[in-house]
Symmetry: D2
Subunit: 335 residues, 4 copies
């Protein structure tokens, strides 16, 4: 289920830019044919998301040169015959295409610009793709530093959770020089079913941040509306149907309804297990907040949504799916 987060109709064959994308099945065929000639790809950051992403590259025939700050994270790959290095710089010495998948802006800065960072040994003409979700202004800063070394940087954050990472159905939102997009797409297409070119460096991050901010707002809005309706005597399933045929309709109401029992196969009907955690949503809203502050864009509802998810993290909801905001709101007054 989590696989479909952030992506409508991947399963039903909805392709965004059909000319640029190919179904995973065909790609696999293409890849295996050209397997022999494939040059190794660097991959840094083998966490919950990076691990299955790296495996999909391997499935498509790419030998990997790997690094993770926790050596244990590389063990599985090492045993399978992949090459493991002891620093980002060492990866950069051996691979001219590198993908990074890291948890925070600070980690990206460290991996690129740190004492043993990529930039210490990056080769001219290398393609560096950062799939981390970080502050767009940090992406821009990194891009400048990379450019000075004669290499190319692209930001390519993903939509879709661990499930989508496993099944190769992630959506990548890519920012960077358009001429390099085709090269990036060749790699990213092995890990995702949608690879969208968004514009200059940083716009990949911006697109993801804007989507997730709107997602948070409409999810909380759906939870408030459903809760108000239920307390006003409406049947939850009926109310969901009415909203979904009316102007209140949104992904949170028609695909991922937060009220237990209204839909099958979503986290709300599984005690808010799985899905997209409240902590991660709070993180993305923090990035939206930072972007809005630095671009002087008013985000009245976005700010409040940020604070609500912040509160939820402190009230025991941090590991539940972000649709648990319904549960958070519906607790009854006790007087």
């Amino acid at each position: 289920m989590a696989a479909s987060l952030g992506l409508r109709g991947a399963a039903s064959g909805l392709w965004f830019w059909s000319g640029r994308q190919r179904p995973a099945a065909r790609l696999a065929a293409v890849c295996s044919r050209s397997m022999a000639s494939k040059t190794p790809v660097g991959f840094i950051g083998l966490g919950n998301m990076g691990n299955p992403m790296a495996k999909n590259l391997i499935k498509h025939g790419y030998p990997l040169i790997l690094y993770d700050v926790f050596p244990d994270a590389c063990k599985e790959f090492q045993e399978a015959g992949e090459q493991v290095e002891s620093s980002p710089a060492d990866v950069a010495e051996k691979a001219d295409r590198i993908i990074t998948m890291l948890p925070t802006s600070m980690n990206s800065v460290e991996v690129y610009s740190g004492a043993n960072g990529i930039l210490k040994k990056v080769k001219k003409g290398s393609l560096l793709i950062d799939s981390s979700t970080i502050d767009p202004s940090v992406s821009k800063q990194l891009a400048k530093e990379v450019e000075k070394m004669g290499a190319v940087f692209m930001d390519a954050p993903v939509s879709g959770g661990v499930g989508a990472a496993r099944s190769g159905n992630l959506t990548f939102m890519v920012g960077g020089v358009e001429d390099e997009f085709a090269a990036a797409q060749t790699l990213l297409g092995c890990m995702g079913s949608n690879v969208i070119y968004c514009g200059a460096v940083g716009t990949g991050q911006a697109a993801k941040i804007c989507n997730n901010m709107l997602l948070a707002i409409s999810m909380i809005g759906t939870a408030e509306a459903m809760n108000l309706g239920i307390r006003s005597g409406l049947d939850p399933k009926l109310l969901a149907k009415i909203l979904n045929m009316s102007s209140g309709r949104c992904w949170s109401s028609d695909t991922y309804n937060p009220v237990p029992g209204v839909m099958d196969g979503v986290p709300s009907s599984n005690n808010y297990q799985g899905g997209f955690g409240t902590t991660l949503m709070a993180k993305d809203l923090g990035l939206a907040q930072d972007s809005a502050t630095s671009t002087k864009s008013p985000i009245l509802l976005g700010s409040l949504a940020h604070q609500i998810y912040r509160m939820m993290c402190a009230k025991g909801y941090s590991k539940k799916d972000f649709s648990s905001v319904f549960q958070y709101l519906r607790e009854e007054e006790t007087f």
Copy 2:
């Protein structure tokens, strides 16, 4: 365009409860066949919405008995041969099915319970349908008073603007005793393409209020996300496409996008003319606020959306379409 507000896919044949509804065309045929035998229907409140609604009843063969607090509003009907009365009580004396379409809770109270109100002369067994959008608790109160007189009250607020009223494509959300729903539907089906039974008295209002609150939240959210994205360097049309294929998707982003130039045929591409006025949205959010306060339901984003539309009314946006919140937010800082 306004016709489709609050209603997805009416034009594309999406019917909610197909067994209960018939396309307007067929209804017309049915109606004209049975025209001769139709008993008059009372109609009180001939404003922007009531006027075209009443005309659709006439088209379907119902003689009307009319009242409006402004006599001029009845003139057109009188000249066309319809019967005009000088008080709601007089209408109630002559018609046993009455539809009321009034601007505020107070007007409904006056028309039903006032000195010359419907209840002064209502006949036993009469069916009174209030299509006004008012406080659900007022609907419940009126229902009690009507019941004491041996008559039946239903609340049936509408979704869809003046355009939908003209074309007979309104959505009615109906609350009241289920046994009487079929009788209400016969009349309402002449004016709308969707007639939805919501439950006990007041739930029609509740459903509408919940939908419009979620609509306001997702519209403001869409405006914030689009504005933040544009300021971050994204192309508006591209950003809208990304949102609409992702989890941020909502009616406000994919059907009624608030950014000028992103979609054709919506108010944002027509200088925010037409559509659903900011004043009306502020009114509905006031009702949501009242409902939430009385049911002790937290509506953090709903409250803030209310205040934002309240502010906009004071800043010259009162007559613009409610999607003009994008314009309100995007004004640039001047320093």
Copy 3:
């Protein structure tokens, strides 16, 4: 401590309109001198607040004619020789000055306009003072009905909790015809140390509502600022001192600081026991919300404060002092 809520410097002799008020001690002397000639006063509503208020009237020499919807509430007074009636109407038949102290707008409507309400038997020229905190529009409505009967209505809500009620140190904010203020003040001065004339009927309520809304906002603001400062490494007592000598200073920071250990003798240093309950604050903010909606006044922070106290009521804070919002906010994120 709770006694001083809503009132700065009562103990230190700060008198608002000195010409109109006299210290309790002198009033007592005046009262006892004229004791013999005092005519009975009606008192309806003997709850937590009404009980000690009624006792202060007795101390000042007024015989009482009492009613409460729960007969047990009158027992204590009956045993002490006061006269108890079985309905508000019966009280109105025997007393031409009546004070009402009730929990909600609906209770006030019932006691004045109900089947056995005051208005059924009120004498011409009677002075009816409602000390309940209710919707100002309800006060105005009651005033109209009372006026029709040839009597006078004033709204006189109180500031100060149970402690202030016991010690006779309440603040009364009085709305009504100015000519009748002196008569009201004679009675209210027995129960409070500040009796303030605010203007036409309803302005007493408005003044209280505005004060309490600002109080809620500045309390939450103080809690947010203290919490942010503490997490940023500041010592709580030092931060409070800095705020209190700077422009952030407010009653909530310098007299009622919400951080445990910063001040002695306030609820925050007593596990948030006593003081002004979160539920009561949520109620007053609901009234502020209603007033703002009906006067079309934007209250962005006020609305959000309302929602925050609403949430707190559902999270186990309903009976704690309203300064417990600090505790609510400071809970740590657990990841």
Copy 4:
């Protein structure tokens, strides 16, 4: 008037830590006595605030070594015989005590760590005091870099506007190693009447940010409460008096009331000229937001206050005093 912003009772002789501070008059005497022996002080950033601050150091007998990115800003000082350098590094080469007063975090980073920054030539044991209002995490970062060079860094942001800078009545909130506080105080005491030690590096910034966030919240709250009260029929002066003797009292209501005509000598009675500009408040709230995000502190009202001032900047209020939020809110709905 603006001079007293952020500072209660400076004029009336309220001293926070009397042992550590001396009235400006006495300091002047002390300074002039020891004038002969004074070593030069570096000063970088001669804008609206830096200019009068530097002049006060000169008045107290300190020769200055100056730098500003705009050479024109130094001209006046150069003509008066002060020494002007062509980079921060050059200032650091010649002075072992330097004060910096810069508009943004980025400017501070550039002046300290840039290509020609202070750190390029800083002498061991130098005392570097940054009076800019910036992100506390940037202050901490700078402190680390300075420490590596064997020098000392303190953050010392100011409260009080241009007027207070001129009259030497600023409040300094100082963070850094406590042992160095006395040395910092010697210099800062020439420019301010309150010099407060707040704790470790960054706490000066944190104290200022917390104060200004609470100030913004209580100012908006006061504006909302006054506006709601006025629309409910209360006289503004009377309402202000009631609030100021009650629990709603705050600096914004009793010292800097935002309603024109309620108080003399404040910006609201001078068409919101002078005082503390809306743009500056928006900037400080942006810093509060950043701090809250990085420390995971919920600031529900603080965030909304930030967004409100952000909106105001875009609506023509950027150069008005921040109390103009009353004007922003009170605009009437036009329907």
